[in-house]
Amino acid sequence: MHPAYSVILFTTASGAGYGLLALLGLTGANHGSASDFWFGAASMLVALGLITVGLLSSTFHLGHPERAWRAFSQWRSSWLSREGVLAVATYVPACLFGLLWVMPDSNEILLKLLGTVTAILAMVTVVCTAMIYASLPTIRAWRHWMVVPVYLIFSIATGAALLFALASVFGRTGIPALGIITIVALTLAAVAKLIYWAGIDNMKPMYTMGDATGLGGDVRQWELPHTSENYIQSEMGFRVARKHGQKLRMIVGGCLVAAMVLVWLAFAFGGGAGPVLAVLAVVLAGVGAVVERWLFFAQAKHVVSLFYGEQSV
């Protein structure tokens, strides 16, 4: 599948934003008001900012962005529509929660309620994003059972790295739970990806060119229907060489491990370098997530490629 940059940016940026938002919601639900107004305000702005940038970038690849509002109508059948509805719905409790959370001594029950609802909606939105892909019968690599967990865990891992960095920048170092959550989430992200890659590499081909054309047996393509590349080929026929695929997978793994080490260093020896290390960890986790998402598209084969000379999918 062709990796469109707007979609990669959307899923990674909004994923990190929703992860951060969920963690903030849970923090507020469990610990009451933010300990510091500026830390609270900055965290909420980063979370909602990333989500908003992501949502806007997802409309860039539309043929008619001005009609985007129509996408809220088909939630009964379409995961893309559900994602749109939930993305917008999440703003309501999120904004209320944010306002309440940054104020000192807010009502704890209200915070608990709004924080929990915000965290749940944020995660359900990420599940909807993943389901857009996981529900397509035409792309087997996306039907893998790890697709939804990977989207969730990358959202939480990048969100946690962000929260850790924000806390460090605002002088809130030495919160053991936060450091541990970040390192565990980044580890889980790497493990989840390894399971997914092993899974798609070991998939046995399901359909052949003979199946697709109904001609059976060995079918060869001797003439294309057109003289230059068409939409189907450029959108669905994208291929990445196996060699490059392996290298890029190593980059994803390397970024995640390096981010983990940096978080650990910042946590253990923090001091003045703490915030710098923590911000670097966010950058590395972000690069890892973007490359991971790029590969998610580039290494997925579409059934239609059978009509264009691919022998099996």
Binding site: H64, E223, V304
Partner: protein
């Protein structure tokens, strides 16, 4: 509405095409007439970008592939037209977030509403058959309309109320009709020729059918014919010798 209509009722109309892989000669007449009709019809325009440049591209609703099957003496080439199969349970409809992609209840035709499509392209990802092409210039998805603006068009003569591609095919390899009615011409044709659907394993339940190439005949049939006469009578007469001398000189 992108939820699918119930098409399981008895007597449900299922309009579609039956394509004969035996007689299709790959002349592209159907593709060209489809483009010609639809660039001014329901899906208009069907944009071509840089049509005369070095790298032309554009939206077409019908494409004709060339495939080869079999080995050695049994190898054969064939042409394979590919357009929307107007599936009964297609994910291209259910994934659409706007309701622009829909299946008509009355005849099963799958259409895109060009006024509400946002051009998210998700439906083209959901189609296993590559039947949807995005129009870059128009910003909406295009697909075969089963010539919905011809088949019910009272401004056309009754014999012209058929899809443009069916009318254009010089070998009669494309047939149009109601595949929901088992007594219809197309249903009978499918039955007699062993018509099949593409990728039934995917469970999209295509309505269109393909007729397989007929079995190959390796030899020409035996035709009774009298043996050719030899020159002369072979009796060594003068006339015989003169003729064989002339034959030698000339050959």
């Amino acid at each position: 509405m992108t939820t699918l209509p119930d098409t399981t009722r008895p007597g449900q109309k299922k309009l579609g095409l039956v394509i004969d892989l035996d007689t299709c000669v790959g002349c592209q007449a159907c593709a060209v007439s489809c483009k010609e009709w639809n660039t001014q019809g329901y899906s208009a325009p069907l944009t071509d970008l840089e049509p005369y440049g070095p790298d032309p591209s554009g939206a077409w609703l019908n494409r004709i592939h060339g495939y080869e099957t079999g080995e050695g003496d049994n190898a054969r080439g064939l042409h394979f037209p590919r357009s929307c199969l107007h599936c009964e349970t297609p994910a291209c409809v259910t994934v659409c977030p706007t309701g622009a992609s829909y299946k008509r209840e009355e005849d099963g035709i799958v259409l895109v509403n060009p006024d509400t499509c946002i051009g998210c392209k998700l439906c083209s990802w959901a189609c296993p058959y590559g039947a949807r092409e995005y129009d870059q210039d128009d910003g909406v998805m295009k697909k075969c309309t089963l010539c919905v603006d011809r088949i019910y068009n009272e401004n056309l003569e009754p014999e012209d109320r058929k899809p443009a591609c069916v009318k254009a095919c010089p070998t009669g390899a494309r047939h149009f009709g109601d595949l929901g009615d088992e007594n219809s011409g197309v249903s009978q044709l499918v039955k007699s020729r062993g018509g099949f659907e593409l990728l039934p394993q995917m469970d999209y339940k295509p309505v269109n059918r393909y007729l397989p190439p007929r079995a190959r005949r390796d030899k020409a049939g035996d035709v009774e014919a009298a043996p050719l006469e030899t020159v002369g009578k072979g009796d060594g007469s003068l006339a015989e010798r003169v003729f064989s001398w002339i034959d030698e000189v000339l050959s």
